[in-house]
Structure formats: structure tokens, C-alpha cells
Point group: C2
């Protein structure tokens, strides 16, 4: 770390230590909670201007230039109407200092830490980070510190001075979307990507195809998208590329999933030869080389040709993780289909060993291309430590012994640690507080083993979700997941403390045009029960006292 | 009309007459149905390019320049990925010819008619209109004629050549939103405005305040917004101005409503003196000049000071219509409040006459400022032809004799003609077909009388509607309203014919990122019942035949 930055960091640490000496700090208005924050008691005005956000030092960052435009709109939504604030004594800008201005696609290893300070006497707020992606997180935090004071017609940061030192608890924090049970249009996907950085999420897990439909354009197997719902519910490769780029600009990785050999009936429409029989469409035909040739062609499109062993830029998805599904494989119709049964018999394989053969063979295609395969719980449950160590196990079943998985040296993604599928967002009866009680390291005995937990997702299975209700089913419960994955474990144990904050964050989402459903309803995405403030979400008698959940009172 | 345009118009009419001779044309893929359309059978390719949309002749139009950018994205959503089409034989542009390039705020009198032709042999498509707002409608129609052929990787217009001559049946076609039962954020309002032109709607009726909350900033009575739900659920005047401008650019008028003297308890929080008593907050105090002084100040902010008798640019809402509410006035607590009771007695007024006095006095404030007051049914039901003739009666009660209203010389807006509040979008059990059966001229005996029906709205009362479900409660039922208000009466009588078209229009809305709920569900805004195509909205077995509702088959 260069000396100047080290000094800044030391100053920050000292400020935070001084603040901490006064006792535990109350939660800030920022969602998710920053790891360390020290604040004061001044309300410092903020004077927006055309170059409010800027990059300090040398170099340029198109990614950050675009982000400055977005965050100007998010931070100063009433700019047209704000009473001009005297610049004396006001915060007149946020200067970002970024160590390395590289803008390549973020990966799980990308450093998102940042420091942010907002002075109480005005002047310039300063953020520093190692990467542009850390800078994006700093912009989000700053935007949440600024509020518009309607009575004064001016922007203000309460609780100044602020000194924040922040970094995520887990590197992989995401949302899974399912474009197979319902097609999701490009604008719907862009809109949901827009929302992820509001809660500092950084992964879109794109469950691209499933047994119901295959919307993806494969150039190596161009008949695959004959399995789409209709001729217009499809994605071209250029569409997909544009989504990946859109996400990159927001610091969001896109991890694609092609779920094999189960969940794949839609593949048979274009290529019946990769399916065992008309009455046995899933699992895909383990006995045919055509199956593996087709999958290898698809993986080459997705992950590159593997000619270099690094992430091949020629793949559609530059992310190092490629999800291969592997869940809910029922091999019974393999053994009932004579050609498959005899293939297994010739090789002296049980059906389950055929499943292992399939899962490992497709995983090796990904590994050969310098990527890492992600597979659902069952693949580990069946084949344990025989899986290649590059494999990431995506835990969705309570029966999986996660401690054993990580002790065996596998990295994991987790959506269930306590309770019944707490991060399955299609379970509408799971409220935000049950979501929030799910700690990804629950039951894992040591920090060392917990270090193999990379993070997790809200899993938005799409059986009853399309563009009409995607946002309202995802939000605000995804916010609970986001805070569990970003903030420190000890910061996220007191559920009672969270209620006014998550209500306020939902109000922020509404203010930003996100269709976030009420926090308090028993069923997710239920409509508001009656007239009222977003902070209360219930009826309020006219003339009664103001709601107590307003953002300012959190400080 | 200049000779060139007259010749074009004659040619169009001849083409349409020739097509009509072959029998009634099938419905087009355009929603709402154009009034007159002739089509052929060619699939003509379309070659997008940076200047695809352009304005012919002299003059400039910032409004249209901005629209070209929007419609390029809407018409060519896969532009990045489209296989380059040879320009020979392709439609290479849409040239708009606009008679008068004025960009002042649209009014109810604004001409939205347009002609559009798309050649089958390629070249340039041409649209002509009298106003820029007619040009916006032509852009929408053109955008709906273009589809992306995923198999060819290219855009195409089916059914070419097209000759369309189009104009709305009613000049006032809108959506009412309610920012009092729940605060609606600026992005939520902008998003819903975005969607209105997709169905050629042209009015946002903004039910700004109500008994539950008063989010609006009044500069003449700055304590009024103390009746807001919270310190942040408020609109500054600059916010409102920005919404009005945003709407203007999309050809959408904004008609504001301040509902008096009922539905106004929230006004009492800032100004208790305009309310009869602590236990009688509504109707507002008819006995106090403070009440009328406050309302007059508010109307001056909204509608201008009236120093010139035209629409005063100094008002926040340049629209000539100002809605004053007037519904559901229960005068019983006036007579129970001694000061009000004695005021009425001194003037020898019944309570109902006090209500008349109130309604007419506030209407006259609007009329004096060169605007026209809009008031709900009851105001007519109580006071009949004694109302000033500038009054527009907003019919919402089945008991109102609409024929009598129009025969008495009043213009009307209608949301109920048949059935129980068919255009009340908060009635979730009213499906799109019941919405569609409501003809605004139902029961009005002559076309002459029907000419006093200016149009109507979908009424989105907000008791259970906020930013989380606004779009999904409004759409797709608002589409049914939009077609009733735009297309010819004889074009909108066969409800059975409409089903595949409204399903396809809902798919288009989803493709554009609008959270339009399924068409077929019994309850509005219900989630999709199971996996499936947007064209079917139900489960489809893998491998079964394609849905029949795809856009192309409509031609």
C-alpha cells in the first residue's frame, strides 16, 4: 500500500477506535451495515453540482464516469428543485481514489473494500479503494448518507463527520433469476441488475434454461432454442453479451447455469438424439457421445474454447464460475430405456455411477477451460470427495453436511443453513426475519472452515414469477440476505433491531423506483393492506403523530 | 392542408378504400387498433441505423429528437445483435412530416391524428401529422409493426405495404394515480408515464392529496405538507414541474386534482382553522374565509394567477383542466358544528346549499384563471344545470343520468357506463373483458350528445397500491380502456376477438420492462399460475406445440 494510503488507513482506524471507545456505535442509516463506522453529530449540508463526483489522481475510468451519472441521480433526486446551498461549510464533492483502475470483469476474488470519510465542516468527502468495484460500493454508501431536507429544500448528511471502513464478509453475494419457467425480458433483467448494487450485491446467477424452456441462442447447436416458449421469448448471444456488460458496469458478475443432466427436457425439442427416448427426456442421454459433444460446444460458447488456460475472453460469460446444475436427477428412466441400460451394463456402471460419470465429465469441460464448475448439493451428496477440488458446491438441501463439504476442501455457496429453505424467495411464506436468521456459517465449527463459504444467493425460482412480479417477490427479502452476506456476523444477530432499518431501506427502494413489497406482510409480494406511510405500511389515522421509521431518526 | 399533404391523404384514402373493398380487414398487430389500416402480405426487412427516425422538411423538434432516441430503443431492442441487413429492399428509415412543430403542452384540443405508410419494396416509411403529438402516436404504431425475427437475426415488418390513417375516438384518455393513500415516488410516476403512450394514452390524472396525506408543497400555504405521511414522502414544486415536463415530452397531459371540500382531513394538520372542528375535519369549513383564501392561493400556484385569461404559464399545471373533486361530501358534521350551523342559518342555506356554494366558489376560481373545473358526479347530481357550463363532470356513479348531463351542455369524463365501476382498477375482480365491455357512449342516444364525452380514465385508487404494485394493478387492464377510447366503437364490440391480441400486447409490455400482470387470472395483479409463455400464461408441457398467440400470427 503506498504510504499516503497507509497513513489515511491508519487515521481511519484511529478514528474508528476512538469512536468505539465510547461504546458500540448505533446502526447507521446505510444498508447493509458497514463493517466499521464512526460518526459525529453534525448535520452538514451538501451542495450538488455537475462534477460533484470525481476521480482523484491520474487515469480515467469510463466505468466510474458512468457510475457518477447514475449516483448523481440517485443521491440528488430533487436536484432541479434544491435551494442553492452556499458552498461554504457544505460538502461540495466526493473524490474517489482508486489504486488500480482496471475495469476487467469482476471475479469472486475482486477486492470491494473501501474507506469513506465525510467531513463535518464541509469541503470534500473522500473515498479510497483498491478497485473501481470498491469505489462503486463507496458511491452507494455515500448516496445513502445523503438525505433531502424538504423543509430546508437542501441536501444534508446527518451524523457528520463520518469515517467508514468497509468490506464484505463474503465475496459472493447474489440473486438467482430463472428465465426458463418464465421468460424474463432484457429490460426486466436490466432493472433487477440495477437494484443489486443498492444492497451491495455482486452476482447475478442466471438460471438460463430448464425443462420448460430453452431461450438461449447456441451457435454450435442452433436448434436448441426451438425449445423456447415462442419465437420471441429468446435471447440472442448479443443480448446476453449486453446483459453481462451491463452488469459489469455495476460491479455485478453474471454466473450462468445450464442444468444437466436433469431439468433439461427442453433440450430434446431441437435435439431429440441427446435424450434417451420420447418417454425419457430427462436425464439427458449419458450413453450418447452426441450429448457430450453438444454440451461441450455449448460450454465453449459460454466459457471460451480453453485455448488459453485463463478466462477466455472469447466466452460469453467471463466469470470464472460456470454453474452446471446437477440437481434432482432421477435416473430411473435411464435403466428403463434399453439402449441406456445396456450402455451402463457394458461399462459395469450403476445408474448412480452413470450420473457421477456425467457430472464429472461436464465439470471437466469447464475446468479444462480455466473455469470452475458449480454444482448443486446432490452432486456432492452422491459423489463426495471424488469430485474435482475446483468444484463449488451450491448447498440447497438441509441434509447436506456442510461442515463435511468444507472440511473436504470444497468451496461452497449456501442458501440454507437454518430452517426450511430460508433463501428460497419463491417460498412466499418466509418473511424477511426468517431470511435474516439464516447465517451462512451456522453449524460450521471454525472460522477456518467457514472461510470456504464464498457466500450465497436469494434463489428466485420462476414458477410464479415473471416480469410482472419479479421485483416485488425479490425485494425487500433480498435485502435481508444482502446484509447477512456483507455485514459482520455479530452485526446481524439482533433481528429485533433490524425492523425499522429494513422498513427504511424498503422506503429507499421505493424512492428509487424499485417495486419492493411491504416488509411486514405475512406473504411475500402481498399488496399493502391499507393506506399509509412506507415507513409504517399500515393505516394511519389522519392527524396522528408521524411515523417513527423515518430515515433521519436512525442516526 | 397544403397540396402535397392533401394528395398524400387522398392516396391513403384510396388505398384504404381499395383494401376495404376486399372485405373487413383483420385486426392488426397494433394496440389499440388503428381506425383505418390497409395491409399487404409482404415481409419487408427493416435496417436499423443511427438516423433511422428523422424529421422531414425544415424546422427542428427537441421533443421529437428525444422521442427518436426512445423509439430506437423500443423498436430495435436487439440492435447490438442484429445481423446487418442489406439496405436494398429494406425499410431504411421513418420520416416524419409534421405540419406545425409547436411543442407547447398538449391540451384536450390537441390533434393526435396521423397517417403512416410502410412500403413493401423497402425504402422509407413515411408518417405525417398536424402536430408533434400526432407524430408520437405514429412512432408508437410503427414500433409495434416491427418485430425481431430471431431465426434470421433481423427486423421485419409483416403485412407490408401498410397504409394507416389513424385518429383517436376520444380526445381525453388517461390514468388516474393516487399519491395520497400511498406516496408514489418520482421514479414510480415517471415509469408509469413511460407506459401510457404504449397504448396511446394521453392524460395522467394526478389525485394529489386526500384525507390520508397531503404530499404537495404549497408555497402560499407552506404548512399544508405537514399533512404528508413523513418528512420524505413529499413533492416539491420543482418535482411536480419535472413530472409535468416529463409527461409533455411523451404527449401526456397532467391534470391535477385537489379534492374539496370532502376527502381533505389531511389539510387540517397544517391549518386547523380551515376545518370546522377537531371532530369535524371534513368537509372543509364553508363558514370561514380562511378556507377560500387558502384554496385560492393553492389554485393560483396550480393554475396561475389569472392575470391573463389564457393558460397562465406561471401555474405549475399548464393543462386547461383542474380537478376539484367534490365527491362524497357528507355535510352532517357542518350542521353539528355550532359555528358552521349558525353561518348557514344566517344565510338561510341548507347544508346542501352550503355544499353548492363551496363547489361553485372554488370552480369559479379555476374559471377566472382561464381553466376549466372538473368535478365528480355528485356535484352534478346535486346542483344540475346550475353549474357553470365550463364544468366537466367526471362520471363515476351509475346513478348519474349521463344523457341528461350532456343534454344540459356539460362535457363529461366517464369511467362507468355499464356494470359496476368497470374502470375502477382497484376493483381487482373486474377482468379485462368487463373493462372492455364498458363503452363510454353506452345509453347516450345520439352521436351529437356523445360528442360531449371527452373520454375517461382507468381510476387507480391507491388504498392497496404503492410503488410495489402500481404497474401490475394498472396493466394490462388499462390496455382495454385505452382501446375503447382510441379505436372506433364498431372495432371494439367483439370481445372474443380481443383475447389473443390483449395477451400479445401484454407480452409487448413485458418485453418493454413493464410489470404487466397476466391477462387471464380472475384477480388483477395475481401472479402467473405456473410456468409458461406470456402468450399463454399457463403451463405448457415440454415439447408440446408452440403457443398460438405470437405476435406475427395476428397479421
Amino acid at each position: 500500500m503506498p504510504p499516503a494510503r497507509a497513513a489515511l488507513s491508519a487515521a481511519l482506524a484511529a478514528a474508528i477506535a476512538a469512536a468505539s471507545a465510547a461504546g458500540p456505535a448505533p446502526p447507521t442509516a446505510v444498508w447493509p451495515q458497514p463493517r466499521q463506522a464512526a460518526s459525529g453529530s453534525a448535520a452538514v449540508p451538501v451542495a450538488p453540482g455537475p462534477d460533484f463526483f470525481s476521480l482523484g489522481g491520474h487515469g480515467e475510468s469510463p466505468l466510474l464516469e458512468a457510475a457518477f451519472e447514475r449516483y448523481a441521480a440517485l443521491t440528488f433526486p430533487h436536484a432541479g428543485g434544491a435551494t442553492p446551498v452556499s458552498r461554504a461549510g457544505a460538502v461540495v464533492g466526493l473524490v474517489l481514489s482508486v489504486w488500480v483502475l482496471g475495469e476487467a470483469h469482476p471475479q469472486v476474488s475482486t477486492d470491494e473494500s473501501y474507506n469513506l470519510s465525510v467531513p463535518s465542516a464541509g469541503g470534500v468527502a473522500v473515498a479510497s479503494s483498491r478497485t473501481v468495484f470498491g469505489a462503486l460500493r463507496a458511491l452507494e454508501t455515500f448516496s445513502q448518507l445523503v438525505r433531502f431536507d424538504f423543509d430546508r429544500g437542501a441536501y444534508v448528511v446527518d451524523g457528520a463527520p463520518w469515517v467508514i471502513q468497509d468490506r464484505p464478509r463474503f465475496p459472493h453475494r447474489g440473486l438467482m433469476i430463472d428465465s426458463a419457467r418464465h421468460f424474463l425480458s432484457l429490460p426486466s433483467i436490466r432493472q433487477i441488475i440495477d437494484t443489486l448494487p443498492y444492497a451491495k450485491l455482486n452476482v447475478l446467477h442466471w438460471h438460463m434454461v430448464d425443462q420448460q424452456s430453452f431461450p438461449f441462442q447456441s451457435k454450435s447447436s442452433p436448434k436448441l432454442w426451438e425449445g423456447s416458449y415462442s419465437a420471441v421469448e429468446r435471447y440472442t448471444q448479443a443480448d446476453v453479451e449486453s446483459v453481462v456488460e451491463y452488469a459489469r458496469l455495476r460491479g455485478v458478475r453474471v454466473m450462468v447455469e445450464f442444468d444437466v443432466p436433469g431439468h433439461a427436457a427442453s433440450w430434446c425439442i431441437g435435439y431429440p438424439e441427446i435424450c434417451p427416448a420420447a418417454d425419457c427426456q430427462m436425464p439427458l442421454n449419458v450413453a450418447s457421445e452426441a450429448t457430450f459433444n453438444l454440451i461441450e460446444g455449448l460450454i465453449s460458447e459460454v466459457a471460451g474454447t480453453g485455448s488459453s488456460k485463463s478466462h477466455d475472453a472469447s466466452g460469453l460469460f467471463p466469470d470464472s464460475f460456470v454453474h452446471l446444475g446437477g440437481d434432482e436427477v432421477n435416473t430411473s428412466c435411464w435403466t428403463k430405456t434399453p439402449s441406456v441400460a445396456s450402455w451402463l451394463q457394458e461399462r459395469n456402471l450403476t445408474a448412480d455411477e452413470g450420473y457421477a460419470y456425467f457430472a464429472k465429465r461436464v465439470a471437466s469441460m469447464v475446468i479444462q477451460r480455466g473455469h470452475r464448475p458449480v454444482q448443486w448439493s446432490e452432486v456432492y451428496d452422491h459423489f463426495k470427495a471424488s469430485l474435482p477440488k475446483e468444484t463449488i458446491v451450491h448447498i440447497w438441501k438441509g441434509v447436506t453436511n456442510v461442515t463435511e463439504v468444507v472440511a473436504n476442501g470444497y468451496d461452497v455457496l449456501i442458501n440454507v443453513a437454518t430452517g426450511d429453505k430460508p433463501w428460497y424467495l419463491d417460498y412466499l411464506n418466509i418473511k424477511w426475519d426468517a431470511v435474516y436468521r439464516n447465517d451462512p456459517c451456522h453449524g460450521i465449527p471454525t472460522d477456518e472452515l467457514c472461510a470456504r463459504v464464498l457466500g450465497g444467493h436469494g434463489e428466485m425460482w420462476g414458477e410464479t414469477v415473471d416480469g410482472s412480479d419479479l421485483q416485488s417477490t425479490v425485494w425487500p427479502r433480498l435485502a435481508a440476505i444482502a446484509e447477512k452476506l456483507w455485514s459482520g456476523r455479530s452485526q446481524t444477530e439482533d433481528v429485533a433491531e433490524v425492523l425499522p432499518r429494513i422498513r427504511a431501506f424498503r422506503c429507499l427502494l421505493l424512492q428509487r423506483g424499485v417495486a419492493a413489497a411491504p416488509v411486514d406482510n405475512a406473504q411475500a409480494r402481498a399488496a399493502p393492506a391499507g393506506p399509509g406511510s412506507c415507513f409504517e405500511q399500515g393505516a394511519r389515522a389522519p392527524g396522528s403523530a408521524r411515523p417513527v421509521g423515518e430515515r433521519a431518526i436512525l442516526l
